[in-house]
């Protein structure tokens, strides 16, 4: 858990970050989002002391970061940046093993760990001997993530890590990262200005504007509790629609007992996203569709009523 108390950073006369108070929960992805120049990167970089706050306190698991020398602190925190920053004169193996070597790991342990990480990132083991310039943008970014994970840090700081990759590859990297995170359960602070990326990955979204933290909650809560104008404007009018991509049909249908095969409604598997289901309803001008499981057996029907709770909160209300 990371606690920020009144964190402020001044560059000359400019206040980049102004009195941010926040708690970042363990094992979750917290996405820091906001327009460029809102101070999100500065805030991120204060966590591993790449930038020292002008005032305020940052603590990780209750311990003030200032109590640890910056180098030692950073070796325990994974760090991924937009332009990857792979060392061009090192091979992939050497790049990934930078932190383990700084920590004085023995060679066999490092080799084992690098192989493990290449497998995890879906990179071939032969990549270990390649130089960064032989990699594609997506591959380099995967190596960047692997390098950050090398010493198995509990905390990961990511500053627009997929920002320099083309949209298709970015979507793949996001999906992969989501899968890896489900396995590893790291505490992740993730900076982006891309709302869709935030929706895809975030457990919690923290919105920043002019150095202040103006909203911090689960992605759904921004809709449930009507967000202030700036936030709803920033998240966009189609935010709620995009949010539906986070949810699977399996959690949002009305079960039917028995069989109801002959209704003529189109069917979707339970693994499909709610966004797909809504899109299908809209394009076919329908009120309901049938949900089936992997084997093809009918599970129930989906109507717009089924997602009422998603945005209306537990108390209901249409």
């Amino acid at each position: 858990m990371i606690t920020l108390e009144g964190v402020t950073k001044q560059f000359g006369t400019v206040e980049a970050v102004r009195g941010v108070d926040a708690t970042i929960r363990e094992g979750e992805i917290t996405v820091l989002i906001g327009p460029s120049g809102c101070g999100k990167s500065t805030l991120l970089r204060m966590i591993n002391r790449m930038i020292e706050p002008s005032s305020g306190r940052i603590s990780i698991s209750g311990e003030d970061v200032r109590n640890t020398p910056p180098e030692l602190l950073r070796r325990r925190i994974g760090y991924v940046i937009q332009n990857v920053g792979l060392f061009p004169h090192y091979t992939v193996f050497e790049n990934i093993s930078v932190v383990p070597r700084l920590l004085g790991w023995k060679r066999p342990r490092i080799e084992e760990r690098v192989t493990e990480l290449l497998d995890l990132m879906g990179l071939e083991r032969s990549f270990a001997q390649k130089k960064p310039r032989e990699l594609s943008g997506g591959e380099a970014q995967r190596v960047g993530v692997a390098r950050a994970l090398a010493a198995n840090p509990p905390l990961l700081l990511m500053d627009e890590p997929f920002g320099a990759v083309d949209p298709q590859n970015r979507a793949r990297l996001q999906t992969e990262f989501d899968r890896i995170q489900k396995q590893l359960r790291k505490t992740v602070v993730f900076v982006t200005h891309d709302v869709e990326e935030a929706i895809r990955l975030a457990d919690r979204i923290a919105v920043m504007r002019d150095g202040r933290l103006v909203g911090h909650s689960s992605p759904e809560d921004f809709i449930r509790q009507s967000a202030p104008p700036f936030i709803s404007e920033f998240l966009g009018a189609d935010y709620s629609l995009n949010l539906l991509a986070r949810h699977r049909l399996r959690d949002h249908y009305r079960p039917t007992r028995g069989t109801a095969r002959g209704t003529g409604n189109p069917t979707l598997p339970e693994t499909a996203s709610v966004k797909e289901a809504v899109a299908l309803l809209v394009t076919r001008q329908l009120r309901e569709l049938t949900v089936h499981d992997e084997a093809g057996a009918v599970l129930g029907t989906f109507t717009l009523d089924c997602i009422k709770n998603l945005f209306g909160g537990e108390s209901g209300g249409s």
Partner: protein, 245 residues
Amino acid sequence: MDREPILRWVKTAFLVAVFILLVFNFHWLEQLAPSLFARRGIMIERIPLPVSAWQHIYLVSISSFLSILCAVFLGTIAFFPFARDFKELFVDLSSLGETFPSVAIIALTVPVLGYGFWPTLLALYIYGILPVLRNTITGIENIDPGVMDAASGMGMNTGEVLLKVALPLALPVIIAGIRTSVIINIGAATIGATVGAGGFGVPIISGIRSYDIALVLRGSIPVALLAVAADSLFSNLEAIFEARR
């Protein structure tokens, strides 16, 4: 392995071989073009050419070694946060050394250091610093900021960033600076002959004094060859480290 790098080294080896052959057998060239080398003057060189070559190379090596050491050290110091403000000063000072003619440095230091080796060494040393210092500083400054950010963000301290990342990546640029510095000094070292430091300047200077073209060529041809060979050698080194990045 590409054929290109091999060819580069063959070229270097060829230039070095020609230089060595010529230094030990300059009379071959004289026999090849007797009219050009016909002795008109009355001066006869008393110092054999291999000795001049040794003096010249010795002078350039020592002075270049000292300049490189000093320049890389200063350039590296400028990298540390506490010395950022000195960076300009270092470059300005070494530019000043560069604009000051080496003849003037020699003339000014002879009264203190005496004739011969030492004033020439000092002049060449001061002269050789700037190209290396400037390239060390720009070489480090031009490294992808993302790489530097990642290096310190992963927990390297300033020294580790410098030794493991900054210097290795700046090396080709630093070597380019060394190349310029050494070549300038190979030419400038001929001035040393005026204060008795020996080298290829001796036949050149005496040739000029006695209107003896043959004698001038006896000094200037080997100097030119030495400079070309050194240039080729350093450009190969540059290519090696460039390829490593």
